[in-house]
C-alpha cells in the first residue's frame, strides 16, 4: 500500500528523534543517504555563514533555513532528472541539490541581478518572494507537461504554512485536482509565518487535510526526518509520473512537512518578541542532522573520520562560494535595462544615457555616497 494512502493526520516517520528506525525505510542506496547527510551539513553551514555575512554588512536581509534541512534535502533528492522545482525564498539547500551554485544564491541575497539567473541546464524556477504565487506556476508547468505528453516529468513546489492562507494556493490546488496535473505541493510547515503561529493561520487540524477538499491525497510527514521526507516525496512524484501504476493515473499530492525554523524569519526579524526559547529547545531535540548522523553511524555509513572530512569539505566549499560571490564587481547601470524586454526600447537607451552622462560628469561616487 502506498504511504500516501492514510489519514492526513497520520504522520509518516522513518527515524525517531534519536535516529532509530521506526518506519519502513525508503528504497534508497547508502550512497544517496550519505550524500543527503553531506548536503544537510552543507546547508546548515551555508546558513550560518550567510547570517554572519548579513551581520557584518556584507549581505542584505537573508532568510535562514536552519532546522529545515531534512525537508529540503530529503525532497530534492527524491526528484528525478526531468522534474522541476518551484521554490519560495528559503530553499537554498534544495536549490543547491538541484544545481543552483551556492555563490549564485549568495549573489541574489547580496542584491545582484546575476543571482537570479538560473543556469541553463537547471530546471529550478527563480525565487518567489510574493507568498504563494509560485504554486500556480507549478500547477501550470505540470499541466503543460501533461498536455504535451511528457510522462516522466513532475513539478515539486515549495511554500510555507502561511502561504496556505493566500488565494493563489487554493487556486493552484483546485486546478491541479481538476486537471490531474503531475504536481507535488510541498508545504514547509515550520510552525510560524513571521510572528503568526500555525494555529492562527488556519482552523484546519492539519494542512495536509486541505487536499481532501481538492480531491486528492494529502499526507503529513515528519519534516525533520530526511528519510521519511524522501519516501513520501518519491511516492508522490511516482504517482505524478508515468512511473505510477497504470490504474491509478497521474495525480497531484499535497505533502505537509512538519518542521521548525530554529532561527529568525529573516535577519531583519527578532523572534524573541513572539515565541519562547522553550519552544525552540523542544524542536531542537528533533534536529535532523544528528538524527541522520546517528542512523548512518549505526549502519556503518559514517564514522568520526568521514564526518570530519565532510565538515572540512563543506567549510571549504562554502568559503569558496563566499569568495566567489564577493569577488563579483558591482553591476554596471546597463544591467538595470537588461532583459526587461527582448529588445531594449528607445526610452531605455535614453534613460541609460542619462545615467552615463551623470557618471561621466561626476563619477560613480554621486550614486553611492
Amino acid at each position: 500500500m502506498s504511504v500516501l494512502e492514510r489519514d492526513p493526520g497520520d504522520l509518516v516517520q522513518v527515524l525517531d528523534e534519536d535516529g532509530a528506525v521506526v518506519g519502513e525505510l525508503p528504497d534508497i542506496g547508502d550512497e544517496t543517504i550519505v550524500q543527503m547527510y553531506r548536503d544537510m551539513v552543507l546547508a546548515r553551514h551555508f546558513d550560518k555563514r550567510a547570517v554572519s555575512l548579513q551581520r557584518q554588512g556584507r549581505m542584505g536581509t537573508y532568510p535562514p533555513l536552519s532546522g529545515q534541512e531534512a525537508a529540503q534535502i530529503g525532497s530534492a533528492h527524491a526528484l528525478g532528472d526531468d522534474d522541476w522545482l518551484f521554490p519560495s525564498y528559503r530553499e537554498h539547500g534544495a536549490s543547491f541539490v538541484r544545481g543552483i551554485p551556492l555563490d549564485q544564491t549568495l549573489l541574489y541575497w547580496m542584491g545582484h541581478e546575476a543571482g537570479n539567473k538560473v543556469p541553463d541546464d537547471v530546471n529550478v524556477f527563480p525565487v518567489a518572494v510574493p507568498i504563494a504565487t509560485q504554486t500556480l506556476h507549478a500547477t501550470g508547468a505540470a499541466w503543460a507537461a501533461s498536455l504535451k505528453g511528457d510522462t516522466d516529468t513532475a513539478m515539486l513546489c515549495y511554500f510555507g504554512d502561511g502561504a496556505t492562507s493566500e488565494g493563489d494556493f487554493h487556486e493552484a490546488l483546485n486546478f491541479a485536482g481538476v486537471f490531474d496535473t503531475p504536481s507535488v505541493f510541498f508545504c514547509n510547515n515550520n510552525q510560524w509565518a513571521i510572528s503568526v503561529p500555525r494555529e492562527h493561520q488556519t482552523a484546519s487540524e492539519t494542512i495536509a487535510q486541505k487536499a481532501t477538499a481538492y480531491g486528492f491525497e494529502g499526507v503529513q510527514v515528519d519534516g525533520m526526518d530526511p528519510l521519511a521526507v524522501y519516501k513520501v516525496t518519491r511516492e508522490a512524484l511516482e504517482k505524478a509520473t508515468a512511473a505510477a501504476p497504470p490504474d491509478s493515473g497521474r495525480r497531484p499530492t499535497l505533502i505537509e512537512a512538519v518542521q521548525y525554523r530554529f532561527g529568525a524569519h529573516t535577519t531583519a526579524d527578532d523572534p524573541s518578541v513572539y515565541r519562547d526559547a522553550e519552544e525552540v529547545e523542544r524542536w531542537q531535540a528533533k534536529d535532523p542532522i544528528p538524527r541522520l548522523e546517528s542512523f548512518c553511524r549505526d549502519r556503518g555509513l559514517l564514522d568520526d573520520e568521514s564526518i570530519e572530512a565532510i565538515d572540512t569539505d563543506v567549510t571549504d566549499r562554502v568559503a569558496e562560494a563566499i569568495e566567489s560571490a564577493e569577488s563579483v564587481a558591482r553591476p554596471l547601470p546597463e544591467a538595470l535595462f537588461e532583459s526587461v524586454y527582448e529588445t531594449m526600447p528607445d526610452r531605455h537607451h535614453d534613460q541609460l544615457a542619462e545615467i552615463e552622462a551623470l557618471r561621466a560628469e561626476h563619477g560613480d561616487e554621486v550614486f553611492f555616497e
Partner: protein
C-alpha cells in the same frame, strides 16, 4: 469626538513613531477604529508601526490576520460597510497586489455602486519605496496605480508632523485612503509632533522652501534628496521653490499652478518609474492651466522604466541630489 485629555505638549518622534502615535490617538478616541494585518499584533508590525497597540487595545482591535491580502482588504470592506473603521496594514506596498481586485473593484467603488447606501471608510497603510537594501519586491513606488482609480485618495507624507496629522485625517475621512509611508525615512530623523490630536488636511500641498526661479514638485522620501539639491543650488544663486505635495490624489492643483505661475519653470521628482507616473499628471496640470507662463519644458526626474532592481543597482535607479541638481540647472538655464 476625542475622549483624550489635551496636553499641549509635543514629542520628538520619527516618522514611523508618528504613524504609531496617529493610530494610538484615533484608536483612543474612537472605538470603531481597528488595526488589522500581518504581524501587526504581538510583533508590533515588521517596522514596529503598531508597537504596543495590541497590548493597549487587545485582540479584537489589533488583529493578526492569516497571510492573505485579499482577505485583509476584502473583509475590511465588509467591516467598514457595517460601521467599523478598519485600518488594514499591508506589510510592504509590493504585496498589495493580491488585494488589488478588492481595492479597485470594491474599496474604490462601493459608495458609487451602491449610490451612497454603503461606504468604505478605511485607510490602507503600506510602507513604500526604495533605498533600504531590501529584498526583491520590497522597494517599489506604485502610487500611480491607486491615483488612477477614482474613489480612492492617496496620501504620501514626508515628515513626522504631517504623518500623524494626515493619518488622523485619513481615518476620519468618509472615503477610503491609501496611505503610503516612505520607509526609507521611517527613522531617518525626528520632528516635533503634538501629543494631542490634530489634523493635516488631505489634498493640500505645502511649500518647504520658497523661491522664484523654478518650482520643484515632489513628495514622500524624495523630499530629502530634493531639499539637498535645492539648498545646494541656493548657494550657487538658483532660487528654487520646493513644494511637497503630501497627497498625490487628489493633487493640489491650485498649489501647483500658483507656484508655477510665479516661476514659469518646473521640475518634478519622484521615484516611481517615469512612464505613467504622477509626474506626467503634474506636467499636464501645468499645460492645462498655466501654458502661457511656461518658459522651459517641465523636467521629470523619476525612477527608470524598469522593474525595481535588486539592491546592488538601486542607487543608480533612485533619483539622487546630483541628478535633481542637474535637472533643475538645465531647466533654469533653458
Amino acid at each position: 469626538m476625542s475622549t483624550q485629555e489635551t496636553t499641549g505638549q509635543t514629542q520628538s518622534l520619527t516618522l514611523v513613531q508618528a504613524v504609531r502615535d496617529g493610530l494610538y490617538t484615533e484608536m483612543s478616541a474612537d472605538e470603531d477604529v481597528i488595526v488589522m494585518g500581518e504581524d501587526v499584533g504581538k510583533n508590533g508590525g515588521v517596522f514596529r508601526a503598531t508597537e504596543g497597540l495590541w497590548e493597549q487595545f487587545g485582540d479584537d482591535r489589533v488583529i493578526d490576520t492569516p497571510l492573505a491580502e485579499s482577505g485583509i482588504v476584502g473583509t475590511a470592506v465588509g467591516m467598514a460597510a457595517y460601521g467599523l473603521k478598519p485600518v488594514p496594514e499591508i506589510q510592504f506596498s509590493g504585496f498589495m497586489y493580491p488585494a488589488f481586485d478588492q481595492i479597485v473593484s470594491h474599496v474604490a467603488r462601493l459608495r458609487n455602486r451602491s449610490r451612497g447606501r454603503f461606504t468604505c471608510p478605511m485607510v490602507i497603510r503600506a510602507p513604500y519605496g526604495g533605498g533600504i537594501r531590501a529584498p526583491e519586491h520590497h522597494s517599489e513606488s506604485k502610487e500611480a496605480f491607486y491615483a488612477h482609480e477614482a474613489g480612492l485618495k492617496v496620501v504620501m507624507p514626508s515628515t513626522p508632523y504631517d504623518t500623524k496629522g494626515l493619518l488622523i485625517s485619513a481615518i476620519r475621512d468618509p472615503d477610503p485612503v491609501i496611505f503610503l509611508e516612505p520607509k526609507l525615512i521611517y527613522r531617518a530623523f525626528r520632528g516635533d509632533v503634538p501629543e494631542d490630536e490634530y489634523t493635516v488636511p488631505i489634498g493640500e500641498a505645502t511649500t518647504r522652501r520658497e523661491g522664484s526661479d523654478v518650482s520643484v514638485f515632489t513628495y514622500g522620501a524624495m523630499t530629502r534628496p530634493t531639499m539637498e539639491a535645492v539648498e545646494e543650488l541656493a548657494e550657487e544663486g538658483i532660487d528654487a521653490e520646493m513644494i511637497d505635495l503630501r497627497t498625490v490624489s487628489p493633487l493640489d492643483r491650485e498649489a501647483i499652478v500658483e507656484s508655477f505661475k510665479k516661476t514659469g519653470r518646473a521640475v518634478v521628482v519622484n521615484e516611481a518609474p517615469k512612464t505613467g507616473s504622477l509626474a506626467g499628471e503634474i506636467t499636464a496640470i501645468i499645460q492645462e492651466e498655466a501654458l502661457l507662463y511656461q518658459e522651459a519644458p517641465v523636467n521629470r526626474v523619476s525612477g527608470f522604466d524598469v522593474p525595481y532592481p535588486l539592491y546592488a543597482l538601486e542607487d543608480y535607479y533612485l533619483p539622487n541630489a546630483a541628478r535633481i541638481t542637474k535637472a533643475i540647472t538645465e531647466t533654469v538655464e533653458f
